[in-house]
């Protein structure tokens, strides 16, 4: 091993240029850069970094699709009286006599939710960063099972293809809302979207769950078993803690969705009555008796609530890391951060019925769920306090990633406060299914998770592609998005308090709502502009892969292990031995230290000037 070190370093550093003298011993070590064909290197790759990029790019494509759908229905909501003949080339028969087909409008809303929650913010976010960062930050050559990791992506890919195809079938995609409540979703004769579109939705989600489970098993196993020497659980970067707990949540929650989907499939295709009872449709009584649609809601939200933490926790972890790095300060309350992540994970499983306050549940049960829901404010507030305390009197560098992280904290606070309102059963009965709810969850999990995603891409892009994203375009992207998001979702709260129900095609029939027509138009303009601002990022992303400013090994002067690898880490991540870890990941601006950061792999014996009394013993 040791004798080969210089050669390996050359192979790695030479970015694929193989020197003639060393080509013979290329295959002697598993951590070497071997010659791979295009297919095995970029397509059917088992390398965690390539899989991460695959997840990222697929997620970006999905985000564009999801954003386009939202622009389409915002057009309808902002200008309910207008005709949209100019959309005919895109939507074809769904524009009837210049008007958007109302059933297709429902399909747009449904698919926007499905795509954004599952395909972008679950697969695109944790798929990308769990894959990319777990091995790099814990000091592992790769995931525990590279093959399962590859399967995880390809199940996601097949699931994506099926979901994408469902957008174009004749009866239209699923249209029962992203929560696919039966009986609407169970009866093909109810709306066109409950026909083939719903079937494809269920098949696609089943494959998606398989992908999540394969990925999750891998993340957990890797974090438990493959940490490098010295990397105890209490020295893990907060990103890893977040990914680890997210994967556990996923493993516990997604099978429940699977079982719900399975029962729904049986109800739809095999004549069972799990969720159906006493239904008349078009004057005809259905034979189904004994089922309960509320059961579906319980099953769905037992996944659905942990799902929002599956979406937000990776973003929380990455933001913690980026805030500490760019404030040049240790994260405030490292253990409290882990504790609050644990608290959120635990609580996320016992609050699901707060989505169901109006289902006629026992008020006592409602108050129990209300109590548990409001307790979540405690760990959330701990995290927010710690982020702000990390920023406090820090030596802040406003990189694009840092801006997005601060934006995340801002959105999380703004959206979290309305969560306290909605968590109250009495208030929720008033607000239920209004735009207030839409505004709440778009801020607290939608936009902030997106901000976490952007922050992560800006911060780790140099390690992914060896080049920087353009900072100026990053600033433009940040400000347009940040202002855009607030302009969209702040007015939405007012619309919601005024009583606008969500998922309505138009409110022109209600006099009460006419005074808000301009506000709705305003929201639509802001939403469409914010969507177009994302293309600044898309351009920046693909341009910088090839033309960006070249990065150094550790451009952010960060402490964690991924920055000890070569500029573009090869197969196996470290050309030589994996570095051992000696200290926690947040030694920034330590008094007495030569630099304002001390990487995790620097032993205490080399930093005698800055060691604290108890660290002296470990020198």
């Amino acid at each position: 091993m040791a004798a080969n070190l210089p050669n390996q370093a050359q192979v790695q550093g030479g970015a694929g240029v193989t020197e003639p003298g060393i080509s013979h011993n290329e295959h002697t070590h598993h951590d070497e850069h071997h010659e791979q064909g295009f297919l095995s290197k970029y397509v059917f790759s088992t390398d965690h970094k390539t899989i991460a990029k695959q997840f990222l790019i697929t997620g970006m494509l999905w985000a564009i699709v999801g954003g386009t759908l939202s622009s389409l229905f915002r057009l309808q909501l902002g200008w309910p009286e207008s005709t949209f003949e100019w959309l005919q080339p895109l939507l074809g028969k769904w524009i009837e006599a210049g008007k958007l087909n109302p059933e297709f409008y429902l399909a747009l809303v449904t698919m926007h939710g499905t795509i954004m929650v599952f395909f972008v913010l679950t697969a695109g976010l944790s798929g990308t960063f769990s894959n990319f960062l777990i091995p790099l930050q814990i000091g592992a050559r790769d995931m525990a099972s590279g093959f399962m990791n590859m399967l995880s992506y390809w199940f996601f890919f097949i699931s994506s293809v099926i979901m994408f195809v469902s957008l174009f079938i004749e009866t239209g995609p699923a249209a029962a809302g992203w929560t696919i409540y039966p009986p609407l979703s169970a009866l093909p004769q109810a709306i066109p979207g409950s026909g083939a579109g719903m079937t494809l939705w269920l098949v696609s989600m089943a494959l998606f769950i398989v992908s999540q489970l394969l990925g999750g098993v891998n993340y957990i196993t890797t974090v438990i078993n493959l940490r490098t020497q010295g990397m105890s659980m209490s020295k893990l970067p907060l990103t890893i803690w977040a990914f680890f707990l997210t994967a556990i949540l996923g493993l516990l929650a997604f099978p429940v969705l699977f079982s719900a989907a399975l029962l729904l499939i049986f109800d739809r295709s095999f004549g069972t009555s799990f969720f159906l009872s006493d239904i008349y449709i078009a004057g005809q009584a259905l034979p189904n008796t004994g089922g309960s649609p509320i059961l579906f809601q319980h099953l769905f939200w037992f996944l659905g609530h942990p799902e929002v933490y599956i979406v937000i926790m990776p973003a929380m972890g990455m933001v913690s890391e980026i805030l500490a790095t760019n404030s040049r300060k240790p994260i405030f309350g490292y253990r409290a951060m882990i504790g609050s992540l644990l608290g959120i994970s635990l609580l996320s499983f016992v609050v699901w019925a707060h989505h169901m306050f109006v289902t006629g549940m026992n008020p006592f049960l409602g108050s129990v769920f209300m109590f548990l829901t409001l307790i979540i404010a405690v760990p959330s507030a701990v995290k927010t306090f710690n982020w702000l305390a990390t920023l406090w009197r820090g030596n802040i560098r406003f990189t694009a990633a840092m801006l997005f992280s601060i934006g995340f904290v801002s959105l999380f606070i703004a959206g979290g406060l309305t969560g306290i309102v909605l968590g109250n059963a009495a208030l929720d009965i008033q607000m239920h299914n209004t735009y207030f709810v839409v505004a709440h969850f778009h801020l607290v999990m939608g936009s902030s998770a997106f901000f976490g995603l952007f922050a992560g891409v800006y911060h780790w892009f140099p390690k992914m592609f060896g080049r920087h994203l353009d900072e100026k375009l990053g600033y433009v992207h940040f400000w347009l998005t940040f202002i855009g998001v607030y302009l969209v979702f702040l007015p939405m709260h007012y619309v919601g308090i005024a009583g606008f129900p969500r998922r309505y095609y138009a409110w022109t029939g209600f006099d009460t709502f006419s005074q808000f027509a301009n506000l709705n138009k305003f929201i639509s303009v802001a939403a469409i502009l914010a969507f177009f601002a994302q293309f600044v990022f898309v351009f920046n992303f693909f341009y910088s892969i090839f033309r960006g400013r070249r990065a150094s090994e550790n451009p952010w002067r960060s402490t964690t292990l991924e920055w000890t690898t070569p500029v573009v880490p090869g197969h196996g991540n470290w050309p030589g031995a994996i570095p051992a870890v000696h200290r926690w990941p947040y030694d920034y601006s330590k008094p007495g230290a030569a630099d304002d950061f001390i990487p995790q792999n620097v032993p205490y014996s080399q930093t005698q000037s800055s060691n604290l009394p108890y660290e002296k013993e470990m020198e």
Partner: protein
């Protein structure tokens, strides 16, 4: 990996638990044949454990016999479950259709999903059996047989749990 496998099935059982929160059942008696299949799966867990002990003591032939017996008992269990489904249909308890009640449908789903996992267990057993014939299962290579043992016990315990649950709550 073992931790993760257990985690997956912790997840599945949590799914089962939630499913069972449902009321609204049509009362019917569980066919007594389920008791026989339950006995079969308990015995198969014993033979599995025997195979594991044998492998640890490097008694390869005994390990092979144990694995083979477990596999056959697993197949017998599945065949038993299949017969029970037939008996249920004979006593007009259907999975779907106009005469079906969720209580019957749930029974089919629970046994069916368990059966599906049992099939995956059987495939896993076959893989390990093949390994044992290639002399890849012995006291210094206990990982695969260890995993299959845990998985098999898990499936057995899961069935016991389901059976007791169905017996007490049908």
């Amino acid at each position: 990996m073992m931790v993760s496998i257990t985690m997956i099935f912790a997840a599945y059982t949590s799914a089962y638990i939630v499913r069972r929160e449902e009321g609204n059942w049509l009362e019917f008696d569980l066919p007594t044949g389920f008791l026989i299949t339950t006995c079969i799966i308990v015995v198969s867990s014993a033979t599995m454990q025997w195979a594991w002990f044998a492998a640890r003591k490097d008694e390869i032939n005994q390990a092979r016999t144990g694995l083979l017996l477990t596999f056959l008992l697993g197949v017998a269990f599945l065949a038993g479950q299949w017969t029970m489904w037939g008996q249920l249909v004979d006593s007009r308890i259907f999975f779907g259709g106009t005469d079906a009640n969720p209580s019957g449908s749930f029974l089919y789903v629970l046994t069916g999903v368990h059966g599906f996992h049992l099939i995956t267990g059987l495939i896993f057993l076959l893989v390990v059996l093949r390994k044992s014939f290639n002399y890849q299962v012995h006291s210094r290579q206990m990982l695969s047989i260890g995993n299959v043992t845990i998985y098999w016990h898990f499936l057995g315990a899961l069935w016991l749990y389901l059976y007791l649950f169905l017996l007490l709550n049908h």
